[in-house]
């Protein structure tokens, strides 16, 4: 339990985060890929910011925002009676923001390289905009979706700074694998730290290798 608990929690967090990011990120990516709006660079910058911001900075602001006195946190306390900070839900929200660019950018790239003629043909064959998005744009951008899913899952699995700021270290609730490893190292329990780290290293290798194999198959097709 001590070993697998944090791993399992991390996997749950990454899974939930990835699902939310695909659902929320795809429309954002679609809008970014197709808009000619003046606001595009600003939105793009906001989406990309988690890449360059130190996780502690992001975590710090999220802590304030999600805390019981913060704009989002106080509203959440009113509705549910419990705080967002130091909870799994709070971690999910923080992870979604932290991993957003890793989901949006591959999908956006895929949508941008999709020739408009496919959409026009779909419309003239009777597909509405929404229908054409799901029946043509999404399947033809599958590579972007796979990259987005893999990257946001892996990235969420590895996050540390944001989790520490927003979630703390509550076993079963917010004690994810990266925090647990840090703990083990602090207490000089290198053996436990090794076991967890090796699982992550193996996982990262397998996932990325699989993704590159899939990509190669696709580009040969």
């Amino acid at each position: 339990m001590n070993l697998y608990g944090p791993l399992w929690l991390s996997a749950q967090l990454a899974f939930v985060t990835t699902i939310i990011l695909v659902i929320v990120g795809a429309p954002v990516a679609w809008w970014l890929a197709r808009t000619s709006s003046q606001a595009k660079p600003a939105v793009q910058a906001v989406v990309a910011m988690p890449i360059v911001l130190p996780p502690t900075v992001l975590g710090f602001y999220l802590l304030i925002l999600l805390g019981p006195n913060g704009a989002v946190g106080s509203w959440w306390v009113q509705i549910t009676g419990s705080a967002l900070t130091f909870s799994f839900t709070g971690l999910v929200i923080a992870s979604c923001i932290y991993s957003l660019p890793f989901a949006v950018q591959p999908m956006q790239n895929a949508f941008e390289s999709l020739p408009k003629s496919y959409l026009e043909r779909a419309w003239t064959l009777g597909a509405s905009r929404l229908d054409a998005f799901f029946s043509v744009a999404v399947p033809l951008s599958a590579r972007g979706f796979v990259s987005g899913i893999v990257l946001s899952f892996a990235h969420t699995l590895g996050e540390f700074g944001v989790v520490l700021m927003v979630g703390g270290n509550i076993p079963g609730e917010t004690r994810v694998v990266s925090i647990a490893i840090y703990d083990h190292v602090e207490t000089l329990n290198y053996a436990a730290a090794h076991r967890m780290s090796l699982v992550l290293v193996a996982f990262a290798f397998i996932v990325l290798a699989t993704m590159f194999v899939i990509n190669r198959r696709w580009s040969e097709r």
């Binding site: 020739p115 496919y118 043909r121 003239t124 064959l125 009777g126 229908d131 399947p139």
Partner: protein, 334 residues
């Protein structure tokens, strides 16, 4: 009739079209590149311009210049795409597959098809949408000569078997002459002429038809065959055309380019030209400093001849004069 009324400014180009076309047969839209043909087609489909109705609610089939099949679907998936979304299914899938010869291709992926095969699939997809109107934007232009010749017979079948009206954009006068029944000429975004194909092609005063595009389409009945040629009766003379065509069927289309017709005052003797017809000069229209187009009445049909202004003067060619038309080359639609 179908009323086409579209106005769309695009920089310093303005598309401004207001024309009626028949709701049967194939209507050609012909013009040089930049005359607004494709823009007009895109306006009709709702892909450009803004008159409120979204594209997918227009019930118009669109065949693009590039087939653009969906690569993630098989041929079957591609042709069913529009069928599944058709408001009312009026077109039988098997008959379209049969007409376009797609039976053996249904399980193939688009990237394994030749250009002509892919375009046939694209046409099937547009037809199975059961549209009220089919729009075709130079569907042969992306193909090489051989593929084009492969595909043309399918268009002949479409023309003969299809009940839905088609608007066919092209900058190839041969294609238009072969396939269309009605013709709209576009020049600089405006309609220069429109009407029955035969009538429009016999006009001498439309600039887009005065250069190498000048030439007429005639309807004629094959009479008999000899030496690999077929004889067509024109009342005031015969036309011999290469190929063997059965007598007794419906009249065939003959295309005769203006550059293949010359005029003589007297019956030419001992010439290699087989087709010599008695004709009456109807109109002489100077095209440029050197050449003129002459419209000749042959029976109740018209021929165009491209001649030099010098010959017009030397032979004193004037409306009403009786002359001999020599036709060097004839293409028959088969």
């Amino acid at each position: 009739m179908i009323h086409l009324r579209h106005r769309l400014p695009k920089g310093d180009f303005v598309l401004d079209v207001d024309v009626e076309v028949p709701d049967t047969g194939i209507t050609g839209i012909f013009g040089e590149s930049g005359s607004g043909k494709t823009t007009l087609l895109r306006c009709i489909a709702g892909l450009e311009g803004d008159d409120g109705l979204p594209v997918h609610k227009r019930n118009v089939g669109y065949v693009f210049q590039e087939p653009g099949l969906f690569p993630h679907l098989t041929v079957r998936g591609n042709i069913e795409f529009g069928e599944r979304r058709a408001a009312t299914r009026r077109v039988e899938s098997t008959s379209v597959v049969d007409m376009l010869g797609l039976g053996n291709l249904l399980d193939r992926r688009p990237n394994t098809l030749s250009g002509g095969e892919a375009q046939r699939v694209a046409i099937a997809a547009a037809l199975l949408r059961s549209p009220d109107l089919v729009l075709m934007d130079e569907p042969l232009a992306s193909l090489d000569r051989r593929r084009k010749d492969e595909l043309l017979p399918y268009f002949d079948r479409l023309h003969d078997e299809l009940s839905v009206p088609v608007i066919y954009v092209s900058h190839d006068i041969e294609e238009v002459s072969r396939l269309c029944d009605h013709l709209v000429l576009l020049e600089g975004g405006k309609v220069a002429a429109s009407g029955d194909l035969v009538d429009v092609l016999s006009r001498v005063d439309v600039p887009v038809l005065s250069g190498r595009n000048a030439g007429v389409v005639l309807w004629a009945n094959p009479v008999d065959q000899e030496d690999g040629l077929t004889r067509f009766d024109f009342g005031e003379g015969d036309i011999w055309a290469p190929g063997e065509f059965e007598a007794g069927g419906s009249p065939l289309r003959l295309r005769i380019a203006a550059s293949d017709v010359s005029i003589a005052r007297e019956m030419p003797a001992a010439t290699t030209i087989l087709n010599i017809l008695r004709a009456t000069i109807e109109e002489v229209h100077p095209v440029d400093a050197a050449t003129a187009l002459v419209r000749l009445g042959v029976g109740n049909q018209s021929l165009l001849a491209r001649v030099t202004n010098r010959s017009v003067q030397r032979l004193e060619l004037r409306p009403g004069e009786r002359v001999f038309a020599q036709v060097k080359s004839v293409t028959v639609r088969h």
